[in-house]
């Protein structure tokens, strides 16, 4: 990505692309643990959706459907707060791969 400089800024530094932060994939800084969703156990209480700081719980219609790893940072709050009898979200170790050839 070409770095923008002040010359490309709009006057008043107005950003008209609402919500374009979705291009920042916060999943790239995941902790080394990731949540796994087990649909059969889920009671659809939506607590994981409520407590995920990175908007990484996938919801379709009336149902929680899984984890969006593009944004999940691996904080573990969803798994901790999941109240189903058998946990519907469990944290598993993830092999951390270092990015090759720079960051962009």
């Amino acid at each position: 990505m070409k770095k923008e400089t002040w010359k490309e800024l709009t006057i008043g530094t107005i950003n008209l692309e609402a919500g374009n932060s979705v291009q920042n994939l916060t999943g790239t800084w995941r902790s080394g643990h990731k949540p796994e969703f087990i649909e059969e156990h889920c009671i659809q209480c939506f607590f994981c959706w409520l407590y995920c700081p990175h908007f990484a719980i996938l919801v379709e219609g009336d149902e929680v459907k899984g984890i969006d790893y593009d944004y999940c940072t691996g904080c573990g709050m969803c798994a901790e707060e999941c109240p189903s009898k058998e946990k519907s979200i469990v944290m598993v170790k993830e092999e951390v791969k270092l990015a090759e050839g720079g960051t962009e």
Binding site: T26, W49, P53, F55, Y71
Partner: protein, 308 residues
């Protein structure tokens, strides 16, 4: 009563890709609060974690009109926008039946300390705005300096604990009380882990005519130094120990929104947090005692005020 399922269907006004910490409490607050009104919303944000992390150049995590001007004047900024809106409405440039809501927000640094004067003015002038303080007890965005919301005995970079000092020496400022003293229509204290209560309060704050103030406890694993996955439990403990009582003051009338079945010892709040670790040394036992005593006193007073 709102259901989480239904809230989840609403459009996110703050979206993914923001740079807040693992386990940060700020998005939990805004996820609920921004759903408490369906009207278009303008937000003015003081300098702080939320502002910095949601607007990393050249991107924004906001799906609504959002302004940042400086650390000290989020309240004045939103007051100005609201005054303009009223003027344009008077002149017929905004249709009479169109309603826009206005929200000023900042952390405890930008609200309890640096922005207090602007906030007081905005409230006193009666602007029809909501101001929300997300209180994470420190200047977390700049490396964890103490603020006037930092609790007694907490170690912060400008009130470090050591052999000569037990961390911050002063009791925290009671900002909710200061705002209550402005005699505005609505003041409330809330927690993100009592989402229904937070949602109801935000709804009232948006609906009420005139200024409203919300003080919301905000989890901060970075500065409080606890295991980030355990944040929700910790926020519940804050309420159950009465360190952070949930109450509201509507037109001067106090109401307690939650009374723990059994008030827990402050030790349950203190123990999981690294910022208080040194308090378990013998020489600092007095801090723990003082802490409990102050919490008890404030809780007593709040019960008295809400029974009037």
């Amino acid at each position: 009563m709102a259901k989480l399922k239904d809230l989840a269907k609403m459009e996110d006004r703050l979206v993914a890709g923001h740079g807040m910490c693992l386990g940060c409490g700020i998005p939990l607050i805004f996820k609920v609060v921004l759903r408490a009104t369906e009207d278009p919303l303008v937000i003015a944000n003081a300098t702080g974690c939320l502002e910095v992390c949601t607007t990393i150049f050249p991107r924004t995590a906001w799906n609504v009109t959002w302004v940042h001007s400086a650390f000290e004047n989020a309240a004045s900024t939103i007051a100005g926008v609201e005054a303009m809106y009223k003027a344009l409405k008077r002149r017929g440039k905004i249709p009479k039946d169109k309603t826009i809501k206005f929200l000023g927000t900042g952390g405890d640094g930008g609200t309890y300390d640096i922005g207090l004067q602007a906030l007081s003015g905005t409230m006193e002038r009666g602007h029809d705005v909501v101001y929300l303080c997300y209180d994470n007890n420190a200047y977390a965005n700049t490396g964890g300096q103490r603020s006037s919301a930092t609790p007694l005995g907490a170690s912060a970079t400008t009130s470090p604990a050591g052999t000569q000092s037990p961390g911050k020496l002063q009791w925290r400022k009671d900002l909710t009380k200061i705002l209550t003293a402005h005699n505005i229509p609505y003041v409330a204290q809330a927690s993100p882990t009592r989402w229904q209560d937070l949602y109801n309060k935000a709804k009232k704050a948006f609906e009420v005519e005139g200024p409203a103030f919300l003080n919301v406890l905000c989890l901060c694993p970075t500065e409080w130094k606890y295991e980030e996955s355990k944040g929700v439990e910790l926020a519940k403990i804050a309420v159950d120990t009465c360190v952070w009582p949930l109450y509201e003051v509507e037109n001067g009338k106090y109401k307690l929104n939650y009374k723990p079945k059994e008030k827990k010892s402050i030790l349950e709040w203190i123990k999981p947090q690294g910022r208080f670790r040194h308090l378990f040394r013998e020489e600092y036992a007095w801090v723990l005692e003082e802490f409990q005593k102050k919490v008890d006193e404030e809780w007593e007073e709040l019960q008295r005020l809400s029974s009037l």
